[in-house]
Symmetry: C2
Subunit: 309 residues, 2 copies
Amino acid sequence: MAGVAHVVVDWGTSSFRLWALDGDGRVLGERRSAQGLAASGAEGFEAVLEDHLAALGIGEGVPVMMCGMVGSRAGWVEAAYVDTPTRLDDLVRRAVTVPSASRRICILPGLAQRDPSQPDVMRGEETQLLALAQESFDGIACLPGTHSKWVAMDGGDVTRFATFITGELFQLLRSGSVIAPAVAGAGDANPLDAAFALGVGEGLGSPETLSAALFRLRASWLLAATAPSAGLSRLSGLLIGAELAGAARLFGDLRAVALVASGPLARAYRVAFETAGIADPVLFEAEGCARAGLHAAALAAFSRERSVA
Amino acid sequence: MAGVAHVVVDWGTSSFRLWALDGDGRVLGERRSAQGLAASGAEGFEAVLEDHLAALGIGEGVPVMMCGMVGSRAGWVEAAYVDTPTRLDDLVRRAVTVPSASRRICILPGLAQRDPSQPDVMRGEETQLLALAQESFDGIACLPGTHSKWVAMDGGDVTRFATFITGELFQLLRSGSVIAPAVAGAGDANPLDAAFALGVGEGLGSPETLSAALFRLRASWLLAATAPSAGLSRLSGLLIGAELAGAARLFGDLRAVALVASGPLARAYRVAFETAGIADPVLFEAEGCARAGLHAAALAAFSRERSVA
């Protein structure tokens, strides 16, 4: 494949995404798989990576910039956390180089917040923040997901952040709890269902009774035959509403909020933001941000080398 | 077995407890097993019950009063919910009789709160409330467990109640979530560990950030090597603290609170009540209350029949 300046990879616990980019960050080729950490550890990280590169016809010498759990202790090479508060520029400076005979391979570090009253970590999302910094975003960034991140950004610095395990609670509750039958059924939560907005309102207005509201999903199904599809949407709304209440508690008034998300999650959080009266969030597409952040890191790390060489 | 006035049974989803009582409620014999609903449904409810009665040498004609999930739709015979607000006396009046050739067998109904904004159900715990009513308890009763019940009682009436799935969240999080390794290890949460009280304080003071506090358990384990035993105690404290915050929101100032619990759960909630400044709860032993409530129901249901006969 001609014209490839570098390859960037977002390699997480359960997924692998690779893009071949030109010097302007345009996508020339792409690979996706479910070869997350667990799957790749057995086969060997280098073999997995080189297989994908070969499939795109990318020869030796083309450098690779990676982020995500591949840099954790259980990953390929550990990229030690950068402590907050920090400039996002520091991520590139603190990238680790992976031994490889065929090319330069770097892994970006995650962020650690070591304040003993608010310990927190992220690994992967910080690359999306790099893209926001390049757009000079200042404010609170919300990156929803299995583990939603809320991040205070100021002039290219990450000052602090917090993780809410909203998506994980959703999965635990829908699959293995007493409320599972009340939220069972095909498909996803529907943010356009009135039950979703009702859930957001309740989670936001009364987050301390969340655990009682969860049981009420079952009671409403038992006593009033509430449809499980409505129960599922209400469950999603409740959890996201409680997350918004928590974010407001930690970060104050939620103004100047960026929403960094894709697909159904983006739709759900947009509706939740509206319900919560969070006006005009700046919208960023999550995958585009990951790619743009990795591209910026690759430019910073590799073009210097090229100019030196 | 001589002198048995009646037999009482608390038959739940996962456990079976039976007591043979004399006319004053003294225990003459006892049986316990893990033959909850799922296990008993296959063997047949009558066979399971009669086996236990035969093992104690209890002959035909001795009546049996039961409560719990055995009266649910998935149980032996459905005992339709009694709607709140209700007098607890109504439970006995609304007991259903199970067809049996060998004896009179009754199942007490559960309670349903049909208020569409606070739908809730209980089945089993209402029998413990019968015992509290006999002691003329007025106030808020807390019955902790997998699904903790908080109940407003007034002059023998249940006016309203709420269920918090505290114990279930604890099990889901410790066994199958991202924080599992941070709370792993043998044994139970220790309410005497300082981490427990810290968790209660945080859950009570900042319930809206519970989901972030959960992730912090993992971060603290990763960054500061916090011992999983401390993590487990803190997890328990966080969830119980959030439950107390929710109960305060729903029931107002938590004065005149009864704690109906046994064993480790009783110890944990007593410490949590102290941390929360809930003064001098009235303490009831949960199993004793279940037995006393069933005994009172059996007296009311069967002695009338005997005097008529």
